[in-house]
Amino acid sequence: MDKIKILGLRRDKATVLQFLQKEGVVELIDTRVLNSESSSQVDETEQRLALQKKEAEILINQTQLNSVIQTLENKYANVPQESTDKKISLDDLLMVKDREKEFLDLFDLLKLTEERKIDLAAEREQIQREQDILNDWRKVEIDLQQTSTQRTLIFLGRLEKSAVSDLEQELTELSLAETAILILESGETFDLTAIVALREHELAINQLLKQYDFNYLPIEKSGTPNQIYRSNERKIKKIDSTMIELETTMKSIAAKRLDFYLLSDYYTVTLEYYSASKIPEDSLYTFYLEGYIPRKDSRKVKQNLEDDFTVFVELIELGPEDEYPILLKNKPFAGAFQTILEMFGAPSTKEIDPTPGVAIFSFLFFGMMLSDVGYGLLLTIGCAYLLWKAKIDTSSESGQLVRMLFLCGISSTLWGFVFGGFFGDMLTVMSDNRITFPCLWFNPMDEPQKLLIWSMIFGVIHLFGGMIMKIINEIKFGKISNVFFDVIPWFLIIIGLGLLLGGSSLNISTFDVGEVGKWLALVGAAIVMLFAGREKKNIFSRLISGIGGLYGVVNYLGDILSYTRVLALVLATSVIATVINFLASMVSGGIIGWFFAVVILIGGHLLNLALSGLSAYVHSSRLQYVEFFGQFFEGGGWFFKPLKYKTKYLKIKKNDE
């Protein structure tokens, strides 16, 4: 990694930044905070404000745009697109600037159409509600606007059948007998009535009607109910045909959704450019910026910059003692597992890249935990399809995951052969014990204790791997003494204790393995005790630190025991598979029986693959993070994030495509 310093003319600033964004290999350093006192050479508040305004505008537009894209993708996913080519050239992307108006018009049309659709739908609902009420009144031949005469008021509405006579009676009792109840239409449980009353009785009548749950007709339009009903029907028809028109418009817009992708990506790129353009320090005529650049690109970029622009470029080679972002460089196999490290965080610039170790052991442990030929093949084939047939973008986050799972699938298949698992014991169960899938080593279901021991042995190997990383780091840091006092003794103690406890099973007769183990462990413990507190001057506090250092044996014990999860997950996968096979074998027999058996087998095994695959992934990652990294990882770095054209929906073609 190099540091690049660029000093240029202010009028070139935009083009230089665009050039850097296109190259995509420079991470700009925000120097504004570092020397904020000296940055007031030029008063550019107005310019800054204009930029901020434009930025905010774009942000708002983009948010709306993205939600529109979401709607289009949800509701109109089936509408064929005019163009499905998701790869664009950089020029096409930058050309959006000239076509922005056209895109925004389309966008406005879409918003307008959406709004009209919502309004019309609301209107239609309103009319429909009116229709539901009017439907009962259609035979009544009254003008609904006729609600009063000079001396009387007419109330139209629905009244419960049983209430009519009660109401009449109460009217006479209250000496409102001048009121007439006209039954216009008789329904099953209610009557449609017109109640004609004197104007001066309005208040009393209204109160009374409320008591009797009189249901007022809420429509006051001119014409008989039937006429209104008819005209409403015509309105609905018109709305429906307009809706269809709007829908076609929407579909024609949806067909152009690639344009929205393009615009949204253009905004993303522009925003990135804006935030970058705030970084350089401007003086009246010049600008100045600093950045990190990978060494392999630095000379070429410097050359190009100096050829094309009036700039002064300086490169500074950074050494291990400097701080700079981390760009991991790995071979394809290890690179596939890089995502596990990226999730955890970047190593510091001084230490070794742990990815190769992570790769080897993740491959090993994932495969061991899933360990089934059937599941492994399914996983491998599924990922292979995504990688080579569906051509998933391997530089994206999900693409990297797929690439890793592809390898993990292979590993699971291999371990499946080792432990003899093919969809659990499917062959045995379905063939009534005639065929047994062979295992190359042993079956964990029969000898779980053996796998318990072996998972811990693999764990010790993993931990040793971590300790070797620690040795490499200490050598890089130039602290060789730490290797002899902090790492080597633990090798001796762990191997020694291992031999002492399990050495008898090795069947070596030439010497007493247990005795050798005992002495190895003792020598290791002695070194730890004497040197763990070597920084302390006082002899007593040094001894106490040494005894404290020996407490580390508990940590190692915990770490090693943690690997027994491998056994538990192996058993979990195969027992669940066994249960599924067992259920399927219970229903099998006859055509219907076999049909259900197949359904159970497919559904069950897919579910188990998903669950066990997830466990295998997270638990093998955890073994890396806690047990493996715990041995040596310092961390504290950050990953290299260059200024570049980073798009969300479309992919930018490389120059040679």
């Binding site: 249960v579 997830l614 997270v618 990652s621």
Partner: protein
Amino acid sequence: MVVLEKLGPFLTLLAAAMAAFLPGLGSAKAVSRLGQTINGVLTEQPELFGRALILQALPGTQGIYGLLTLFLILTRSGLMELGFSADITWYQGLLWIAASLPITIVGYISALYQAKVCETGISLIAKRSDQHARVIVLAVVVETYAIFALLASVLAIFSLS
């Protein structure tokens, strides 16, 4: 004492049933609580559904471990093949109960505790959806103890049969 002598199969079945129902209950509680939290988050950010679903599924594994223990106890004790005629003494039955205790208790409780981690994890990914993977790892650290409990029960079951 005649009754006691015939209790063997019952105690064995009890051991298996406990292993299935208590962790299952814990998982159900945990998953339901997470589901409620997720519903709240989805009102604002429906696109998080896939990620949230994985988090919801995590404390569901304890129920599966319980089921797995049930299956192992039933097959290893011979209850599944022989049924009523299984020849199990009452103190063997008690041993099966003892074997099922680790996953029964730890499975139940760890599901609830794991749900708490997942719950706060969901509010984390609601704000920063790129942290999804780390939330899973943090939740899985809790699950480790359910796995150890399962391992303890499974080893006990294997050593009894």
